[in-house]
């Protein structure tokens, strides 16, 4: 699994496209419910004070995910700073 970029590796302000979701079924559904599917753009907006969880901007909503869950989301990094809107 080296060289695979994960959502958990995203730094504050960076944005990325979702390539694949490797989570278990229940988490997949939850992510799908909020519109996180292949091809969705995600940006990292805020780390919590203890470093985990991290808040991401997903289709206009800010959603916090724990490291375990965000590391199951495979991404491709996009250049440029997020402007908050897809």
């Amino acid at each position: 699994m080296q060289n695979i970029e994960k959502l958990s590796g995203l730094n504050q302000g960076q944005r990325a496209l979702v390539i694949d979701i490797h989570s278990n079924d229940s988490m997949r559904r939850r992510l799908q419910d909020i519109g996180l599917i292949k091809g969705t753009e995600v940006s990292c907006v805020q780390k919590s004070p203890l470093g985990d969880p991290v808040a991401y901007l997903i289709r206009g909503a800010v959603i916090a995910l724990r490291h375990e869950d965000s590391s199951c989301v495979q991404i491709r990094m996009l250049r440029g700073v997020s402007n908050g809107v897809k």
């Binding site: 989570s23 278990n24 079924d25 229940s26 988490m27 997949r28 559904r29 939850r30 992510l31 799908q32 419910d33 909020i34 519109g35 599917i37 292949k38 969705t40 907006v45 805020q46 780390k47 919590s48 004070p49 203890l50 470093g51 985990d52 969880p53 808040a55 901007l57 289709r59 206009g60 909503a61 800010v62 959603i63 916090a64 995910l65 724990r66 375990e68 869950d69 402007n83 908050g84 809107v85």
Partner: protein, 715 residues
């Protein structure tokens, strides 16, 4: 922490929706939507009811229904639980789906968030697959306007094929138009909802099953939708069909055969069940994307910046925790300072009334024992509860509601989540704890927002470590009497607030300890995954918050306390006046409890008060006072220093005071909370454990503290 009759006790738990129509001609409107889109606000404005609202997802935990009359037609409005999808992954979604399918609603209104429309579309599209009678209510238009989000409602309506109305429910804008639209939807039909186009292989599957089930579905449920569900059916579908459709699908050989043929074909083409599900969801999401593509425009691309800036402070690495402590101290300081004066006034007034009552009873020649029973027993406890409880509650509730409305609570959960993860629990537990500040029963019901059953149980069992409103005044009174007596004025109230915060922090710490212990013993497991939404900050409507929290919460809680306090006062008076042998019943009971109570730093009377306080924690302190007064002869309790003297005369030391505070923080939940736990868990075992965990930890903590403190101080 919605505290009203519906969210507490009897009505809180039934997840199935039963509709109450007054007349057959009544029209039924189901109100659905994502969590936290202002659905409850729309509901409240339409029905005039006061369902709890607040700025965090999941606060509507009960199913409410109300009625409204619009242009001479009666409507029954059913508030469905907030959910993101109708795929029935959770109880809420199941309830919402079943009601939309079979609740025989004349129309379904899906409330959407104008600032996050694309995501809301998901649910709209899914609903439209089940029923054509959908009207879309795009709420929070005012917020969208502020953020310079332009929405072309007309274009969206054309694309969707159903009416779309913009509203700003908080300021009552657009609701009449909404009702107009809804009544047209009910009467006219004329909707031609857009069909979601699925990948070919799914469409072919649907076309094979649909003809087989069409007849059975006629007039019950949309056959295309059910075909789609059957294609990716899981176990859940079996019971769903069994419950709602008479003819049993799964004994019909034709259907079973076709389904298994289709599935075999999928398998041979390498299409997994997961892919089918993924493709269905993707098709819906892409349709939603398509609908919003040209119809929603963001004129200010940096509209999230303001929220981000606030978040950087409230959840920042160095600022988050100090701000949380300061917020807590601030709320308590305002509560304590603000409550002092009115408490005194109310107390003076109520005891003046007591004197008048005594005169009146004397004039009536009421028998001595009856006068004493009613006035020194019932009335005095009532007066105490009101004067001690009312002012802090009337200040605390609005302050807390303000924090809730702004959107601060989800940030607290965000900040604390890592601690919960360390205890193998869910970050949303922080939200349920916040609700516990208001009332533990409400906190327990609130645990429904936690999906994992294991983590939900942990949250339920440990909720009692957060002192509820009934326990605050006890803690505040003891702190003021024993620990800040020497400080003066402003310093005293700040010190009280800090000490009270310390007690709360201890409670939170014990929550972590208990959660961890539970996770390692009887509720073993690893932390499960979850998503936590951080909603946009909203400017609270201060006037409304104050009115709502005073009337809905304060008076409700106070009413309950009074209902319990009156009989408790009677019982205490009787116990203090009935003699068995040469001692009163009260002395017998407290004497019996005394040796054990001394071990944990209390005395028999205090422990007895906690036991009698089982129906409501509010009455613990009044019972202690009553009991001491029955022994001694102090009749007037003008202020806290007299009260302190009463306690000191009865053997209280600072060690006793701390032990009482510890025990108040950690003992059995009150009867309302326990009933709620029983209903929520549907299990006697977990209810008993919910009593044992805080009680054992409380007794243990008090014992250790008392023993060590006595050794050190040599008392």
């Amino acid at each position: 922490m919605g505290l009203n009759k519906d969210s507490m006790g009897m009505n809180a738990v039934d997840m199935g929706l039963v509709m109450k129509k007054a007349h057959d001609s009544d029209r039924v409107i189901a109100l659905g939507g994502n969590p936290n889109v202002g659905k409850s606000t729309v509901f409240n404005e339409l029905t005039g009811l006061r369902q709890h609202t607040g700025n965090w997802p999941g606060k509507t935990v009960t199913n409410a229904q109300g009625s409204c009359t619009y242009k001479n037609t009666e409507y029954v409005i059913v508030d469905l639980p907030g959910c993101y999808s109708l795929m029935a992954h959770s109880t809420e979604e199941e309830v919402a789906r079943d009601f939309i399918c079979f609740g025989r609603a004349d129309a379904v209104v899906i409330v959407c968030d104008a600032t996050c429309l694309e995501r809301s579309m998901n649910l709209v599209l899914q609903t439209m697959e089940i029923t054509p009678n959908v009207a879309v209510c795009v709420n929070l238009m005012d917020e969208a306007e502020k953020k310079k989000i332009k929405i072309d409602l007309q274009a969206i309506s054309e694309k969707l094929g159903v009416p779309v109305m913009g509203t700003a429910a908080r300021s009552k804008k657009g609701l009449d138009e909404l009702m107009d639209t809804v009544s047209q939807t009910i009467q006219g039909g004329g909707q031609c909802p857009v069909k979601i186009q699925y990948p070919d292989y799914i469409e072919i599957g649907i076309s094979k099953i649909k003809p087989l089930i069409r007849e059975t579905c006629e007039g019950i449920v949309d056959s295309r939708w059910l075909s789609l569900m059957l294609l990716h059916w899981d176990q859940d579908m079996h019971s769903f069909i069994g419950r709602n459709i008479k003819e049993n699908f799964f004994t019909n050989k034709n259907i079973v055969q076709t389904l298994s043929d289709i599935k075999n074909e999928f398998t041979s083409r390498g299409i997994t069940e997961r892919q089918i599900k993924d493709d269905i969801v993707s098709s819906i999401v892409h349709t939603a994307e398509d609908i919003c593509k040209d119809t929603v425009s963001f004129e200010n691309k940096n509209y999230k910046n303001k929220d981000s800036k606030i978040d950087r402070i409230l959840t920042g690495k160095w600022t988050a925790f100090p701000i949380m402590f300061l917020a807590l101290i601030g709320v308590f300081w305002l509560t304590i300072t603000g409550a002092n004066y009115p408490s005194q006034v109310i107390s003076d007034f109520l005891f003046w009334i007591e004197d008048q009552l005594l005169v009146f009873f004397g004039w009536m020649n009421t028998p001595q024992f009856l006068t004493e029973m009613l006035i020194l027993g019932v009335y005095r406890v009532l007066a105490w509860v009101v004067s001690v409880m009312l002012p802090p509650m009337a200040i605390f509730f609005p302050l807390f509601t303000l924090l809730e409305d702004i959107g601060f609570l989800p940030r607290v959960a965000f900040n604390l989540d890592k601690c919960f993860k360390k205890c193998c629990a869910c970050g949303k537990q922080a939200l349920t704890m916040c609700m516990g500040f208001g009332c533990n029963a409400a906190g327990v019901i609130g645990c429904r927002i936690i999906d994992s059953p294991r983590e939900r149980l942990i949250a339920i069992i440990t909720n009692n470590f957060v002192p509820c409103n009934g326990r605050f005044p006890t803690l505040i009174a003891i702190i003021s009497m024993f620990f800040v007596g020497s400080a003066n004025g402003g310093a005293a109230s700040v010190l009280s607030a800090i000490l009270l915060t310390a007690v709360i922090v201890l409670g939170v710490f014990m929550t972590f300890v208990a959660s961890k212990i539970l996770s390692k013993t009887i509720l073993k497991g690893v932390p499960s995954s979850f998503t936590l939404e951080l909603p946009p900050y909203r400017k609270p409507q201060i006037g409304k918050v104050i009115i709502r929290s005073v009337f809905d919460r304060t008076l409700f809680v106070l009413g309950r306390a009074i209902a319990v306090a009156a009989p408790a006062g009677l019982v205490i008076w009787i116990m203090a006046n009935v003699h068995i042998g040469d001692m009163t019943l009260l002395a017998h009971c407290s004497g019996f409890l005394d040796p054990f109570a001394r071990l944990i730093g209390l005395d028999g009377v205090i422990l007895l008060a906690f036991i009698l306080g089982f129906p409501a924690n509010e009455i613990v302190l009044p019972i202690i006072i009553m009991a001491y007064m029955a022994k001694g002869n102090i009749l007037e309790l003008d202020n806290l220093s007299v009260l302190k003297q009463l306690f000191v005369d009865n053997g209280w030391t600072p060690i006793t005071a701390i032990s009482v505070m510890l025990f108040s923080l950690m003992h059995w939940p009150c009867s309302t909370t326990l009933l709620t736990i029983k209903k929520e868990t549907q299990s006697l075992k977990w209810t008993v454990i919910s009593v044992l965990v805080p009680t054992v930890i409380g007794i243990g903590t008090c014992f250790v503290f008392t023993t060590v403190a006595r050794l050190i101080s040599g008392i």
